[in-house]
Symmetry: D2
Subunit: 241 residues, 4 copies
């Protein structure tokens, strides 16, 4: 079983009746609810207002992949917790970064850039095209899918050139976007997926959910692996048979 932790800032849901109506159980609730229907996933959730921001060492140790949504309260997360999260990712914990979490502390620390882009909240529909149709994250996803309304993000998107580019977004206002991108840092696999503004029901969309489930499976840590770094002796020469 792949152990998924769906993590959500969970502030908008408490502050906005509109958003609470879209996500009565929070964005984390909607995501977890879908992921629980996917065979092979063992799904829990956590939110920022829990002790240690819901990201205790114990919890992270029991997690193979973290699905992460944050927006307005990202800078309230203490640096020590971000340090810990980064250590776990470098040691193999997978990370699925959703929407505005591309500018979270953990994202910018792993990627080295600001994560900023052009944006506007005008309820435009969005098309996302698969550019890597053989990739596991695109499995079962149509060649393009549409989201009825979402915040528009556009290039230039300040992310590093991804290891793999999976989706490109199109907006009617004239922008394009690298909307689904893969990275590896240390042993940890990272997928950044831009859809999901809190004011629209994006995480009830079946294609969006399919992508997130695929990404969780793709990014999940497969083994606890020890990597030796530091002061070492030369290797013994090998005797020939």
């Amino acid at each position: 079983m792949t152990r998924v932790l769906v993590w959500n800032e969970n502030r908008h849901e408490k502050q906005s009746p509109h958003i609470a109506a879209l996500y009565p159980d929070g964005i984390h609730g909607a995501l977890a609810s879908h992921l629980r229907t996917v065979p092979g996933l063992d799904v829990r959730s956590a939110t920022q207002d829990e002790p240690e921001c819901g990201l205790s060492a114990d919890r992270l140790s029991q997690t193979d992949v973290l699905v992460y949504w944050g927006h307005i309260a990202q800078n309230e997360i203490p640096d020590e917790i971000v340090d810990r999260l980064q250590r776990h990712i470098l040691a193999g914990l997978g990370l699925v970064i959703l929407h505005s979490a591309c500018i979270s502390k953990i994202a910018t620390r792993l990627l080295g850039t600001t994560g900023m882009m052009k944006w506007r909240e005008s309820g435009e529909h969005q098309r996302h095209w698969v550019v890597a149709p053989g990739h596991p994250i695109a499995e079962g996803v149509p060649e393009h899918f549409e989201i009825a309304q979402d915040e528009t993000y556009g290039e230039h998107f300040d992310i590093p050139a991804p290891d793999e580019l999976i989706f490109i977004g199109w907006s009617p206002g004239g922008e394009v976007l690298r909307s689904g991108t893969c990275y590896t840092r240390g042993l940890g696999r990272i997928f950044l997926f831009t859809p999901g503004h809190e004011t629209y029901p994006v995480y009830h969309d079946q294609n969006v959910l399919k992508v997130i489930a695929n990404a969780a499976k793709w990014a999940a840590k497969a083994e606890d692996r020890e990597v030796v770094r530091g002061n070492v002796q030369p290797l013994e020469p090998l005797a020939r048979p």
Copy 2:
């Protein structure tokens, strides 16, 4: 001086009065005429109906980068000439592949895929966005530029994941496209740039011309370099001082 050879199939120009009017000196003529205004470039041109398709060994040996446009007659190029061209590219000759030359023999041989995409000839305008603003090929190019009318190409575009993705195209019909992509094969640098359908005056557009000039400089062979492959002896151990 960087020695540029602008190569053109040059058939549409002979067959269609409309295209001949757009390009009285051929597509190669329009491209060469602009490139001659760029400091540091020594520009010649050649066309497919010349002896050896304009790609003799002598000519290729005196070339640092080849700018290549082809469409309806690509399969008439003998395989031996494609073999020769490939050898020169692997030895360092740069290659700028334009528009439908993405499905040319030389392109598919270097890239390993079909080079096919979605397409339609409906005269839509196109926007191309810079996604690698620090790259030499994007130097002096605005963050996006528009082409008044061009053939629409769209994903899925059957090219390998590029070493570097420079431009993404947007069309009003709803498509996106990796429209400027970099590859290296052997010692040769390759830039694939999709704008330029023969029925529109795309190669009179200043942004398009700027990109092609940048690409010619970027892709050009810098040195004649010998790379040893084949049966070799073990290296001598180095004495410590």
Copy 3:
């Protein structure tokens, strides 16, 4: 079940008693025998001297990943069969290219380079280091492993910059090598793994076999997916809710 086809040229085994003794059931037999012990794999084998070189359309249609070893008879494979194999790979068939098959017709056609390198047959031991410890192909593989004797391959290795670099080889004679590399062409995933000269029992080595099994699982086609290319109409605008 992942359908694996282990394909072997199978000429050395018939011509050399020494090699026949190392691989009484052929290199394909040794590889298939191990892969049959791996849960989830359905393994068959084929050899070059079978009808259609063992690569009939039917057989390829019933295969998710092809493990491929060839050397002295690679140029005897008719181009039509290579065409067919390439089409299947672009449509999603996975490919694991072993040792000297890096210069096979199918490899050079997919990769666009010669696949040549420095080499010598001097029975040196080889070390292969994992540089992508979080990658599925490295799962369960130690941080480095040693092969008691193998042909030495060294840089410059004329392959494209890989999408992912998994292993780097070290030889006592002073060379290094990108020895495990990943590519995607169309929908097909490709892994190139250099160990395995026919005169040494490399395919009885447990680490080598582990890598090949991991690669077969990683490269295998996951779904039959239709990708639309060609002349298309503009998309319908989406009505906002």
Copy 4:
């Protein structure tokens, strides 16, 4: 003219007579002295003990590429200065990271990993192989070069998969290393080059100096470019001609 700033921690040189003898003008002095012989470069130097660690806003604004060596005092650099340096790099300042500066604050912040590796100080000779012979950073560099004595670094090296891999190192003790790697962050190009332990005269080696000069030219900012991010309006549709 490309404006190069050679920056050095400059502590070992003050503390160790042995190192002071190797580098009477400091590591920065040795590097700057060579770079001043390279046409097209305008070279200055700075050290950590200058005001603002030698990295004032003015100085960075007048720099196209920063060559950076640090080791024992890296954590003494205030975070605000690292913040500033990162902003300049994202805005286009090039960065050449030397040796142990791979674990500097600025390197780990840009790359997202620890930058740690296997290492030992045993004076082994090192071979570095060119794996990207067509790349500008390898121009004029032999297919491999040897450093008589250097600290040994080995995999696993905790860096992200580079955008381009230029050199692989070989050590007689049995290790390999991705020793020359390229990245882009924002508009800034970054080259990480591992040779150069302070106790050996590595920066008097002509091949090492050649690589650093090439890298400085490759990484240098080419233009002051404005990239728009933030809240934007939809683009105007383009009228067709």
